[in-house]
């Protein structure tokens, strides 16, 4: 057993010695060197790479110049932009807090700006005819004659067509808000007289004005929530809206 271990140890020592000799032999190969021409080429390439880097790097003052140019351009654009058109006079509304809530719940439908001017003109004529209709309706009720006439006069005096022409000259969103406020006004005026309101609701449905009809329906629902006609008119309004 001892002899075997001794032999293994001697073999291992011999192998280590051979490995060391091999390493030494390998280390003696100092003569293997790259050609001097290659050395020169590689060193030159290393320097050239750094020079290319410095050329490709942007000049330090370029950033400041670019910033200044952008600022000048921005100022020039601001100066050249024309002043916005004067604001459209906001019609006096008699909306109560309840109406404000309804306005917030039912925002006006968004329509593309170019189509707003002709649409507003049509709407103004429609509002005018509604106002006249409201005046006629008021004549049948002695109690509401004065109120309806004043309502019609108020609406007529606003001269919807004139306002719409003004609005056509003005920009975007104000055009959208005017008809909604007018519908609210009509509804407010009519809601003071229940009989007149029902009549106007029927007319609005007959004319296919779902927006006015819905506003009137809401007013009437507040005044007499138990009325059976509400559901019927509600269904008709839905039909109009779905038809649109």
């Amino acid at each position: 057993m001892s002899d075997e271990r001794h032999a293994a140890s001697r073999s291992s020592n011999t192998a280590d010695a051979q490995k060391a000799k091999l390493d030494a032999l390998y280390r003696n190969q100092e003569a293997i060197e790259p050609p001097s021409g290659l050395d020169r080429i590689i060193r030159a390439r290393a320097e050239q790479a750094l020079q290319d880097d410095s050329k490709a790097r942007p000049l330090p003052w370029m950033g400041g110049l670019a910033t200044a140019a952008v600022l000048v351009l921005a100022v020039a654009v601001v100066i050249q932009v024309p002043e916005p058109a004067p604001d459209l006079p906001v019609p006096e509304t008699t909306t109560s807090q309840r109406d404000v809530t309804i306005l917030q719940k039912e925002p006006p439908p968004q329509r593309p700006a170019p189509a707003q001017a002709p649409a507003a003109l049509d709407r103004a004529e429609l509002v005018g005819s509604r106002a006249r209709s409201a005046e006629n309706t008021a004549a049948f009720s002695e109690q509401s004659v004065a109120e309806s006439e004043s309502s019609a006069r108020q609406l007529m005096s606003r001269s919807a067509a004139d306002r719409t022409n003004d609005a056509a000259e003005a920009a975007g969103l104000k055009l959208q808000s005017a008809p909604v406020v007018e519908a609210e006004d009509i509804a407010d005026e009519a809601a003071d007289d229940t009989v007149s309101a029902w009549t106007k609701l029927e007319e609005a449905i007959g004319e296919g004005d779902a927006e006015l009809a819905r506003t009137l329906l809401e007013r009437l629902r507040d005044q007499s929530p138990e009325d059976e006609r509400l559901d019927e008119y509600q269904a008709q309004i839905l039909e109009i809206e779905s038809g649109e």
Binding site: A15, A17, Q18, K19, A20, K21, L22, D23, A24, L25, Y26, N28, Q29, E30, A31, I32, E33, P34, P35, L38, D39, I41, I42, R43, R45, A46, E47, A49, L50, D53, S54
Partner: protein, 194 residues
């Protein structure tokens, strides 16, 4: 030319624009990298091309060099020999392996036999030719592992990482390589004084 900075520091300085940092770094690695390529390919002309290409890649990739984390200061050595190793792999893949590679190498080495060299260099030249021939007779993976250990001084783990195999596999390859070289070069290693 003697610069006390580590390899990693020199490479980072060069990447940062210090052209002078390249010279000491090149001086340290020109011979190991060249010998590695010469012994791996067995042909000086191919080794020259690969050597130039390896240094070009080192130069072009300077911005991507990162300091060695595990082996402090040895990051460049591992990085440079990895580039050389990969370039060798590309070279071998582009070549069609032939059975006569080793024979051709031996014939080439025989042609380069230093018979006309001065007497004092004759023995060393003969040993170099024998070593070269013995290395070329090794299988490629064993030769690669041996050269990475000898020239780059990489650890078993580093060689295993570069070769994409396990540590024990590299250990085995090295053992086989050393045994074959020892057998082939027995007269030289016996004559050589340690």
């Amino acid at each position: 030319m003697n610069d006390a900075r580590s390899d990693d520091d020199l490479m980072l300085a060069y990447a940062g624009g210090d052209a002078e940092a390249f010279n000491p770094l090149y001086a340290r690695y020109r011979q190991p990298l060249y010998r590695y390529l010469v012994h791996a390919t067995g042909q000086a002309a191919i080794a020259d091309d690969l050597y130039q290409d390896v240094w070009s890649r080192i130069i072009d990739s300077r911005a991507g060099f990162k300091r060695g984390r595990v082996h402090q200061g040895a990051g460049f050595k591992r990085w440079a020999f990895r580039i050389a190793h990969n370039r060798l792999i590309d070279h071998w893949r582009a070549q069609k392996p032939t059975d006569s590679d080793s024979e051709a190498t031996l014939e080439r080495l025989a042609d380069d036999h230093p018979a006309n060299q001065p007497e004092s260099e004759h023995t060393r030249g003969e040993q170099a030719a024998q070593l070269h021939a013995a290395l070329m007779a090794l299988p490629q993976d064993q030769r690669e592992a041996f050269l990475l250990q000898q020239e780059a001084g990489l650890s078993l783990a580093d060689i295993a990482e570069q070769a994409g195999v396990g540590r024990e596999t590299i250990k085995s390859r090295l053992r086989y390589a050393v045994n074959k070289l020892r057998q082939t070069l027995r007269p030289s290693t016996e004559d050589l004084q340690p």
